[in-house]
């Protein structure tokens, strides 16, 4: 701990924020980041084909996807988490498989719940963006003799991604905030660490305000990242600067 002497000096005489509790918050930050990042990536991968299916004209494809997004967007994430967390035991024979040691811990049920939840929201965001594709672009692609798949890949999806960017940025922030629920199923994320520190020192203001400050910093980091992305990717849509 020699290299951390400055930290020890800074914290000297502080009853609550000892290097140990700071360590809890740090581990919490790592866990929150893992949960949010992994669920967002997995949710995004799921959402792209689902959004394409959702905008399909064939009802037997679009309807089941609509039901999925309706259910997952219409019920609280906490319920979804409970169903997966308490319900995973009841899949027949799962306790005998190699998956059990993984699923027994709260991390994976939480990850599955978050992934399914964010995938539902992201599907709807992308569907809106796909639907907003200018008619002329689609006609032009058809006139070029592009197949449906090629048109999706080259024309519809790239511009839909750009249009979806601001709404997706909001979804990322929403997911970060929703991840606080992980602490309910005993996970030690940032909120979990705060609850532990609160219970140990009976210091609600210090414990939760510190966690709130971490979330606030993360929120602003995400906000600025997406603003930067929008500036980069939507540069061609801005009015030309006259000179």
């Amino acid at each position: 701990m020699t290299e951390l002497t400055w930290l020890n000096e800074l914290l000297a005489g502080n009853r609550i924020f000892t290097p140990q509790t700071i360590g809890y918050y740090w581990d919490g930050l790592v866990l929150t980041t893992q949960l949010v990042f992994l669920s967002l990536v997995a949710g995004l991968v799921l959402a792209i084909p689902l959004a394409i299916g959702r905008s399909s004209g064939r009802r037997w494809i679009s309807l089941p996807i609509y039901v999925y997004t309706y259910v997952f967007r219409g019920t609280p994430l906490l319920i979804q988490l409970y169903i997966i967390y308490y319900g995973v035991v009841f899949f027949d024979g799962i306790q005998q498989t190699f998956l059990w040691p993984i699923l027994r811990e709260a991390f994976y049920p939480a990850l599955i719940a978050f992934t399914l939840n964010t995938a539902a929201y992201t599907t709807e965001i992308f569907r809106g963006a796909i639907k907003a594709t200018p008619r002329g672009e689609i006609e032009a692609a058809r006139a070029y003799g592009m197949s449906q798949g090629l048109m999706m890949r080259r024309i519809v999806l790239p511009s839909a991604f750009r249009r979806a960017l601001p709404a997706y940025g909001n979804e990322v922030i929403f997911m970060l905030h929703a991840s606080a629920i992980a602490s309910v199923v005993t996970l030690m994320d940032i909120t979990g660490a705060a609850r532990f520190v609160y219970a140990r020192f009976y210091a609600p203001f210090e414990a939760f305000l510190f966690a709130a400050a971490i979330y606030l910093c993360l929120t602003f980091a995400i906000l600025y990242f997406f603003r930067y992305l929008e500036k980069k990717l939507l540069a061609h849509l801005k009015p030309q600067s006259g000179n």
Partner: protein, 233 residues
Amino acid sequence: MIDLHGYGPRLLEGAGVTLQLAVLSLILALILGLLTASAKMSRNWLLHKVATLYTTVIRGVPDLVLMLLLFFGGQMALNVATDAIYDRFGVDWYINLNAFAAGVLTIGFIFGAYMGETFRGAFMAVEHGQIEAGKAYGMSPWLVFRRIRFPQMMRHALPGISNNWMVLLKTTALVSVIGLSDMVRVAAEASRATHEPFTFLIPVAVVYLLIASVSEWMFARLQKRYNVGFGGH
């Protein structure tokens, strides 16, 4: 019928708690939202800053953290206050912060920030000429607000309010964490006790979907009402 192992009445009571909590929080959020929007649009520098700080901080922190902070922190603040009263006046007075009140206050406080942004955008969407016309008629500022700005603002605000309400409704599930017996908490308890999670959690999810669907229908009707004269959409 599904066997609820005798948890039926408590689940029903929990559903009542959820609904009351959601509606009361919505009312508080609407009031706070209108105040925040007015503060943000006011020429008073301090009011503007305070309102901006409120909406920024609230929207940057998870609901659950705010709820835990206000619930446990609020209890501690009350304890400090009652201790001071005891020391000074010798009156032994203990106030236990009611989880329901804490829930309404927290959720209302959080969604007040979101409503504030919705209302601000909607107020700005009302054409300035309309307000000038009202003034030209000799209407007082309050009358201009009541007859001209508010009804036209609502047309723009309703989709946002409807959205916020849907999120608010789902946020009420979090009060189960601070010990309030809403339907989520009862269902979670019952799941643990009986080892039958689906029997309890899925009906509760369906109730949420039902409330959401009914409110969607109600908002569509309201929207129609406020869109009168604008070629219904």
